[in-house]
């Protein structure tokens, strides 16, 4: 039996960026982009579920994000996660990877009892690939990044094939371990119809608060009780719940500052015709080596 915690993130659908969502300064207007489940995090969840299918155990999905991130936690439930946890607080806004990994690592300590922490290699919005490794460092765990396949799992040891430049590397690690996963590691399973029907109304504290705001007959406490007793409550933790140091959260805890965002337009320039002769091609190669494109 192996218990897994999976770190997931809701990201803007950067694959569908059109002119409309670009601001004049070249940054992306996130509010206008559909929010989706980061692909590699979905593969990470799939890997955790496959371990559960084979060996038994529990899968807990954790996300840090705004209230609407409960969308992807519902999707985790649809795929087969046993439990989910939303870490949400306005004070987390503007967090860089350092602040994010601090919050996540503290939340993981709270959840406890795990053999694996899975995360996607990186999120498609920031593309840093730092949150997984930084989280491992903070909890003092071994880590295997860019994982493509679990080759062997027995007792307290796992053997994993990871992708490296130009090939693969096979590493063993003692459990518990943090593993970041690339997309080819596992094709995420479709949502289970039964789980979709069972958890479609799962709500986080913020969801319930906004329900109560819109209807004077509803009280948050009563709603939380009702949803909890129907197994439809998505537990939510704030900075205070986790007893975090405010100086290490959100903007305050983030040394990374965006200096400048540039919109780079790739466009073709002048072209040169190269004669299909030995001399012509030789000249081309010289030019490419001169520009450090070759060699």
């Amino acid at each position: 039996m192996y218990n897994s915690i999976v770190l997931v993130k809701q990201v803007p659908d950067t694959a569908n960026i059109s002119g409309k969502v670009m601001k004049e300064d070249g940054t992306v207007n996130r509010a206008k982009l559909p929010a989706i489940f980061n692909h590699e995090d979905k593969s990470a969840l799939e890997l955790a579920l496959q371990i559960k299918d084979k060996f038994g155990g529990k899968v807990t999905a954790v996300t840090m994000g705004p209230a609407r991130a409960s969308d992807i936690l519902r999707e985790c439930l649809y795929m087969g996660a046993d439990e989910v946890l939303l870490i949400s607080d306005r004070k987390f806004a503007g967090a860089d990877t350092l602040a994010t990994s601090y919050v996540l690592s503290e939340a993981i300590k709270k959840v406890g009892d795990f053999d694996f922490i899975f995360a996607g290699r990186q999120a498609i919005d920031g593309d840093t690939a730092q949150v997984g490794p930084q989280t491992a460092e903070k909890i003092n765990l071994p880590q295997i990044t860019y994982a493509e396949e679990i080759i062997e799992l027995s007792g307290k040891t796992v053997k994993i094939k990871r992708k490296i430049d130009g090939g693969h590397e096979i590493l063993s690690a003692k459990l518990p371990v943090l593993v970041t996963v690339i997309k080819t590691a596992a094709e995420p399973r479709p949502f289970s119809a039964k789980r979709v029907m069972a958890y479609k109304n799962a709500k986080s504290l913020t969801d319930l608060e906004s329900m109560a705001e819109g209807n004077s007959l509803l009280y948050v406490d009563a709603l939380v009780h009702e949803y909890t007793s129907n197994s439809l409550f998505i537990p939510t933790m704030t900075m205070d719940d986790l007893k975090l140091d405010p100086a290490r959260c959100g903007v305050n805890g983030s040394p990374t500052k965006v200096f400048k965002v540039e919109s780079v337009v790739l466009a073709g320039g002048n072209h040169v015709t190269v004669e299909a002769t030995k001399e012509g091609i030789g000249g081309l190669i010289d030019k490419l080596m001169e520009d450090h494109i070759l060699g």
């Binding site: 479709p190 119809a193 039964k194 979709v196 069972a198």
Partner: protein, 573 residues
């Protein structure tokens, strides 16, 4: 992310206007199951939300997983090797995902692991899946096999088979056709015999069996030796074990992903399903209801796919300095396709609801009987519903499958020469469509099936009621056309009946059935146009076109186009 359910505005329209509370109330047995199954709905609204959410999952799978695999599935197809049938890899992937998503037992009850969905909603899923890969419908759509066992089998049989259907572990097949028993199933020869202990065995050959390599087969067999007609046939269920030999699979024009098998039963152990001698006259007829609706869903899915391809191509393809989409002849073809698809969809879901109501009411009456409660009111209602369903099922299959052929034909035409090439999807769609008006009863048989209802004017009361209704504005003009078509129908019917000539009546029944269908479909769309203004365009083109066709149908009858059938031998030299 594309989604074949969410992004199909007409299917959304049909879903949002389902109004199936009566069906769902009966299906969910007044919502008592929530305590045993956390996914069971708590009320009608919750049930509808469940259907919507699950259809979204089907729409996602269809658009993003199944459709991209369809070309490869068509290219490789199911293969027969060393006596074994192998699905194409894409088909295997599709089935794996559909099973993981709990979609292989959509209409089976909760307690057997199914979703307990109404038939109508299952049909929506079937349409969506068929649009992605028509050949997959032939396996996905065989969920009816499980449902037939549920309806007519014993508790023991239900427990034995249904949970495995629901998980997708078993796929099924219905083995009816034989080399000498195609449209005429009364001629089935495959023999069922008993040993001294009363165990049944099957011996003989079946042909053209879709998914005949399936794990569980429903087999129509002659249990009464020496008989020659339908009353000697019973229904059996058996495993596709080593005694069932696949002799070959067919090389077909289309639906390559679906294996069509010739089967040899070598003393195969089997169990009787239901009552002896009722195999064809009760169980197969019941199974055919739903199977024909399945093929109609397939036709609709193929039509939608072909239309999407044609529309996309017409917009992209430029000739004479502009996209061919804006050439009136092409626009006109696209409008014809779109109007056919939307009117077909209205007919289809109307028919699906009748089939659904029929089944739910039948079961409800059984329950009332068992509880010793009165049921005469329900029986009267059922009688009417059966009559309508008996008409709507064949007419739907007839209209939708013929239409799928026309739509794919036109879609290919819009593509011009490129459409004839393998690189374009429309070529596959045209091949896949061609079987829909042949199997599960040819169009000619569907006309025979529907003509009884037409001659007895089963929808007469419905039409009377509609004629009294006041339609506003432009719709009243269209309503008048429908009255006129009904007049034409009545005249034509009278002409045929007065003639008292069987061969004339047989030949004319196609025209009569078509005439009758225009009126019914016309009123369906007219009512829809009251809800959504855009549908006025659909109603307009459909009804005006029907008016023109109605005159043609009537002219054929009244000018005795078919009188030369009597002289066929002299003409057909």
């Amino acid at each position: 992310m594309s989604n074949f359910f969410l992004e199909n505005s007409d299917l959304q329209f049909q879903f949002n206007n389902l109004n199936i509370k009566d069906i769902v109330d009966l299906t969910e047995n007044n919502y008592q199951q929530k305590k045993d199954f956390n996914y069971a709905p708590k009320d009608y609204e919750d049930a509808i939300e469940n259907y919507r959410k699950v259809l979204e999952v089907v729409g996602d799978l269809a658009a993003n997983d199944i459709a991209p695999r369809a070309a490869e599935v068509d290219n490789v197809g199911a293969v027969f090797e060393n006596g074994k049938v192998h699905y194409a890899n894409g088909t295997l992937e599709n089935l794996k995902q559909l099973s993981q998503a709990d979609m292989m037992g959509m209409i089976l009850p909760h307690k057997y692991g199914g979703l307990n969905f109404p038939f109508t909603v299952y049909m929506m899923a079937t349409e969506v899946v068929s649009r992605a890969d028509a050949s997959l419908m032939n396996i996905f759509g065989l969920q009816d096999i499980g449902d037939t066992i549920r309806k007519f089998g014993t508790d023991k049989q239900r427990d034995e088979f249904l949970p495995h259907f629901a998980t997708g572990e078993y796929t099924g097949a219905m083995a009816l056709t034989e080399p000498d028993a195609g449209s005429d199933l009364q001629a089935v020869k495959l023999s069922a015999y008993q040993d001294e202990k009363g165990n049944w065995f099957l011996r003989g050959v079946k042909r053209f069996i879709t998914n005949g390599n399936g794990d569980v087969l429903l087999v129509l067999a002659r249990s009464e030796q020496g008989t020659k007609d339908a009353r000697g046939l019973s229904m059996f269920v058996c495993y596709g074990d080593k005694t069932v030999v696949v002799r070959r699979i067919e090389h077909k024009l289309g639906i390559h992903g679906s294996p069509t098998c010739e089967l040899q039963f070598n003393d195969t152990p089997a169990q009787l399903v239901g009552v002896r001698k009722f195999g064809l006259i009760k169980y197969v007829l019941d199974l055919m209801y739903r199977a024909r609706m399945g093929v109609s869903a397939q036709s609709l899915g193929i039509s939608q796919a072909a239309y999407e391809e044609a529309l996309k191509y017409a917009k992209e393809r430029e000739q004479f300095g502009k996209s061919i989409y804006s050439l009136p002849v092409i626009t006109n073809m696209l409008l014809d396709m779109k109007v056919s698809i939307e009117s077909n969809r209205s007919l289809f879901y109307s028919a699906a609801k009748y089939v659904d109501k029929k089944e739910k009411l039948e079961e409800h009456i059984e329950k009332l009987k068992a509880q010793g409660k009165p049921f005469s009111e329900e029986t009267a209602k059922l009688k009417h519903i059966i009559k309508v369903a008996n008409f709507l099922t064949p007419i739907t299959k007839y209209v939708l499958s013929e239409s799928a052929n026309k739509i794919t034909y036109d879609a290919l035409q819009i593509h011009g020469g490129t459409g004839y090439m393998k690189e374009f999807k429309v070529e596959r769609l045209a091949r896949d469509a061609r079987i829909t008006n042949i199997y599960e009863g040819t169009s000619q048989l569907q006309v025979v099936g529907a003509s009884g209802g037409v001659i007895n004017d089963v929808l007469g009361d419905f039409f009377d009621e509609k004629e009294l209704k006041e339609y506003k504005g432009g719709l009243s003009r269209l309503a008048n056309y429908l009255k006129e078509i009904r007049g034409i129908f009545k005249d034509s019917l009278k002409y045929v009946l007065d003639k008292k000539e069987n061969s004339f009546q047989d030949a004319a029944s196609k025209d009569l059935v078509e005439l009758y269908s225009y009126i019914y479909i016309g009123y369906l769309i007219l009512d829809e146009a009251e809800i959504e203004p855009r549908k006025v365009f659909i109603a307009n083109r459909y009804i005006i076109n029907s008016m023109a066709n109605a005159r043609k149908n009537a002219e054929s009858i009244k000018n005795e186009l078919f009188s030369d059938i009597l002289h066929a031998d002299k003409i057909l030299v």
